[in-house]
């Protein structure tokens, strides 16, 4: 048997919470790990939710990429584990399917 602990989800599961502060989808964003240099989609990060907020860790080196916690009327975001985050803003105004027309 494997000795792995599978107590994480992935970046997809954080996207709803992060939509409080990001105007565009963050799951498809590419980020570079400040620790090992790996460049991956945010959706591929390992997400730990057994804490007051969420912690995303690099899928390659398991170092912390992002911490996010929202308490009362304030949100705290720590991105120091990423050298950059590259987001697609081309569809920020576009709807994925037209609204109901009546």
């Amino acid at each position: 048997m494997s000795s792995h602990n599978y107590d994480y989800l992935d970046g997809n599961a954080a996207a709803g919470e992060l939509a409080k502060i990001f105007a565009v989808d963050v799951t498809a964003a590419q980020g570079q790990c400040a620790h090992c240099g790996a460049t991956k989609r945010f959706a591929e990060s390992h997400l730990y939710m057994q804490c007051p907020g969420v912690v995303a860790r690099c899928a390659v080196c398991e170092q912390v990429l992002l911490r996010f916690v929202s308490i009362r009327q304030r949100a705290f975001l720590d991105l120091s584990g990423m050298t950059y985050l590259s987001l697609d803003i081309s569809q920020s105004e576009e709807q994925s399917f037209p609204q109901k027309v009546e």
């Binding site: 997809n12 939509a19 959706a43 939710m49 994925s96 109901k100 027309v101």
Partner: protein, 243 residues
């Protein structure tokens, strides 16, 4: 960001899972593979948020279907699968996610691998393919505990019977039907070799299931020659009461 969906239909998929059809008045539309967050708020103000994949394909009617599996120790899923009634309202945030999605303009071959209720977002992709009249070849490997735990069985059967572009292989992990060629077991290298698109067709692979299932299946795909960049994964688990 938060929408209110009215429950317009409930349909039991298995003994422990049911599909909730919601009419969401201001729904902006969604892409196959996306999910929503559902928020339940108790009379005392306590609220709990869980993520569920959307099962329905894109549509212009503001319809959102969720298939929810009951987790025995869950905080939200027992309510959604046992108590929620037609006419009630749910708060939804979404649609969420732009990575684990299949868009109808994608023409490349698609390999889908589902573990248990990980079928839900993949079913949305199969439905989106059908409603768009897409000719993209789809192959689904659906790993499930036992025959009675299969979601959408009749619809999957009809879709694969009527369209040569879609094929389906079940893999049973605990109990297989009588005369099933394989003994029950987890997805392994032999199954990947026999029941999935070969890597030389360069399919985009979508893998959804529990974290251990996803790690295993994605590792097997890489081991059989698939480029990790062509593998998209979505994990769920009791941590988030997901799906």
């Amino acid at each position: 960001m938060w929408h209110v969906g009215k429950v317009i239909a409930l349909h039991g998929e298995t003994a422990t899972a049911r599909t909730i059809t919601l009419d969401v008045a201001d729904w902006p539309g969604h892409v196959a593979g996306q999910h929503v967050d559902v928020r339940l708020t108790a009379p005392d103000g306590y609220s709990a948020v869980r993520s569920y994949s959307i099962a329905s394909g894109p549509n212009s009617e503001g319809r959102v279907e969720l298939t929810v599996e009951r987790l025995s120790n869950g905080e939200v899923s027992p309510y959604l699968t046992q108590e929620l009634a037609v006419g009630e309202r749910l708060e939804l945030r979404g649609p969420i996610g732009g990575w684990f999605v299949w868009r109808t303009h994608q023409t490349e071959p698609i390999q889908l691998i589902a573990g248990g209720s990980g079928i839900v977002p993949l079913m949305a992709m199969i439905r989106a393919r059908a409603s768009a009249g897409s000719a993209a070849p789809f192959r689904l490997l659906y790993s499930v505990r036992e025959p009675a735990a299969v979601f959408y069985r009749d619809e999957l059967q009809a879709l694969t019977d009527n369209d040569e572009g879609v094929s389906l292989t079940y893999a049973y992990t605990r109990a297989a039907p009588k005369d099933w060629p394989q003994p029950p077991g987890r997805i392994d290298a032999a199954l990947i070799a026999n029941a999935t698109l070969p890597s030389n067709l360069v399919p985009t692979c979508y893998v959804c299931g529990t974290t251990s299932c996803v790690e295993s299946a994605a590792g097997l795909l890489i081991g059989s020659g698939h480029n990790p960049d062509k593998i998209r994964t979505e994990r769920f688990g009791p941590t988030g009461d997901r799906k």
